[in-house]
């Protein structure tokens, strides 16, 4: 038990975990795809919708003002969680995907030109590859790729060689969703800055598991999705340095992102509103605020320590299984993700058999096909754990993996 926290009690805040689905007990080890929300945040959404809903901003009436206050309170919590300098630097998006695309359109189309180079890593999620491919096509820039090493980490030396004065932007993942690898992004950011490239970090898999300090990292843009941090789907945050956000092109046009509109001249609003056109996902933002309060109360460091315990336990058990191979670095360099292959069995067959035992893991390329190509595998079976998981769930995972091996023996 980490820090005397009673994890069995904590687990009760997540009703789905001990729920039966179609009469079958679920063992939820798919947190990397989407994590579960604490009941406090679920109830907050429900109460908001029952008693407090109204559109926000510009409303003179009490309901609207209260909703605006609850909405903006989340922005303050987000600012604290990321240690942004101001709330203006925290833009609400639909998710990390929109956040990264916002940078590609708002920053990329304005500042990246023909012949420029964009560096991405070979470990990226598709959402940190495709927007840059599309941008390159629009503006005539080219994409360079930082290779991965056999141990599932990035080749920093190769990265340094790729950097040059044509490099205008470096897009890199903080924690790999496919392997769990924690990249030393501060080093990558510093090196990018040495050639004056801006940096875009995909922090989707990081925020739930470690303290993020955007000022300390000196990162230019940092994108997350709430649903990977015990919050709701439909919401993300893009952190951007105010100085950059101010000089970027706007992205979506519409209400709230303007000061005034006439057909002759339209004045843009200041950040963050400049990038928040239209009615935002109010209920999701308010729900996420409650999630962040929950995390603050439980303590991110306690959650991380518990996840490390689970990772070590699971790694020990799985490493002992012959014919099961873990892809990725050792436990000291990763979050609680175990990505594996089973000799002679396609990962989707693993997934189906595990599912028949109620074990919910993800199989496939995890939207990171370049990693699969790198390791010359079609896919992996990935178990991803959260602080609310328990050893018995890992035991069930192992038992089900044994059944896979028996069936395919």
């Amino acid at each position: 038990m980490t820090n005397n926290i009673n994890w069995t009690e904590i687990r009760k805040d997540f009703p789905v975990l001990d729920n039966k689905v179609d009469g079958k007990q679920i063992y939820y080890l798919d947190n990397g795809a989407s994590s579960q929300m604490p009941i406090q945040a679920i109830d907050r959404i429900s109460n908001y919708l029952k008693y407090e809903h109204s559109n926000i901003h510009r409303g003179v009436h009490t309901l609207s003002q209260n909703a605006t206050d609850s909405f903006e309170a989340t922005r303050t919590l987000v600012k604290q969680h990321l240690n942004a300098a101001t709330t203006d630097e925290c833009i609400f998006t639909r998710g990390a995907t929109e956040g990264i695309n916002l940078v590609a359109f708002g920053y990329g189309d304005k500042f990246i030109k023909e012949g420029d180079e964009i560096i991405v890593s070979g470990m990226e999620h598709h959402s940190n590859i495709v927007p840059w491919q599309l941008l390159c096509k629009r503006v005539g820039a080219s994409l360079k790729v930082v290779p991965m090493l056999d141990d599932g980490t990035l080749d920093f030396e190769a990265y340094q060689k790729l950097l040059n004065k044509k490099t205008k932007l470096v897009a890199i993942i903080h924690v790999s969703n496919a392997l769990g690898t924690i990249n030393p992004i501060k080093k990558f950011i510093d090196a990018a800055h040495s050639v004056n490239a801006v940096t875009v970090v995909d922090g989707c898999q990081a925020m739930a598991h470690m303290k993020i300090d955007v000022q300390d990292l000196d990162v230019d843009f940092y994108a997350i999705s709430a649903h990977k941090t015990y919050g709701p789907t439909g919401l993300g945050v893009l952190y951007g340095k105010a100085e950059l956000l101010n000089k970027m092109n706007p992205f979506l046009g519409g209400g709230d992102m303007i000061k005034s509109v006439t057909f002759e001249e339209t004045l843009l609003a200041d950040i963050p509103h400049k990038f928040e056109a239209g009615t935002p996902p109010i209920l999701n933002v308010i729900g996420f605020g409650e999630t962040l309060r929950y995390i603050n109360k439980l303590g991110l460091e306690n959650m991380a320590a518990r996840e490390k315990e689970l990772l070590i336990y699971a790694t020990d058990r799985i490493e002992k299984m012959e014919g099961v191979n873990i892809i990725g670095p050792d436990v000291s360099q990763k979050t609680a993700i175990i990505s594996m292959t089973v000799d002679g069995v396609h990962p989707h067959d693993i997934g189906t058999i595990l599912d028949s035992r109620g074990v919910a893991i993800r199989t496939g390329h995890h939207c990171a096909q370049p990693i699969m190509n790198r390791f010359e595998i079609p896919a992996t079976a990935r178990a991803s754990m959260a602080f609310y998981n328990m050893e018995f769930e890992i035991d069930m995972l192992v038992e089900a993996l044994q059944e896979v091996q028996e069936i395919f023996s």
């Binding site: 901003h57 510009r58 003179v60 003002q65 000061k259 005034s260 339209t266 004045l267 843009l268 200041d270």
Partner: protein
């Protein structure tokens, strides 16, 4: 007295109906345009400053009763005053308007006796400070005056980003 009567004091309604110093002042030494993004209303403040004194001051624009009365009373108070006294008054007015937000932020400003008196007159806006959605209305002309005195030409009740981007 109902809440609304506290907010819409006779003085405010009267200034709203018959705003003082309303119109354009040309030529002038200082002027600034103030914008409230919450409603889209804008005011322009014009002033002639000479020997550190606001010799004359007028305002133009359209907005709610609160903002118009605020502009009217502000210009009445500022006319003929030393710039530094007006700056103090701006500070005091802003403080009154945000007092709900950060009451714990330390002691109130030490005002000159003159400004103490001015503030007693401006007390009619205290009701506004309790209505977050309307605080910006009251502050709008003061912001614009403050910008004008600083030699800036645009101001907004939101933040200090002076460059206004257009499409």
């Amino acid at each position: 007295m109902s809440d609304m009567r506290v907010l819409y004091q006779e003085v405010i309604l009267e200034h709203n109906k018959k705003p003082r110093n309303f119109g354009k002042l040309e030529p002038c030494t200082h002027h600034a345009h103030g914008h409230n993004p919450l409603c889209g209303d804008t005011y322009t403040i014009y002033a002639v400053v000479n020997e550190d004194t606001i010799q004359s001051i007028m305002f133009e624009g359209d907005g709610c009763a609160i903002s118009k009365a605020s502009a009217s009373m502000m210009t009445s108070r500022a006319k003929g005053k030393k710039v530094k006294d007006v700056e103090e008054l701006i500070e005091a007015f802003r403080e009154m308007m945000t007092v709900e937000a950060d009451r714990t932020d330390g002691p109130a400003l030490e005002l000159s006796p003159e400004n103490e008196k001015n503030m007693r007159h401006l007390q009619v806006f205290e009701g506004v400070a309790k209505l977050p959605s309307r605080i910006k209305c009251a502050i709008l002309p003061w912001h614009a005056l403050s910008s004008a005195l600083k030699g800036e030409s645009e101001s907004s009740t939101e933040g200090d980003n002076d460059e206004w981007e257009t499409i």
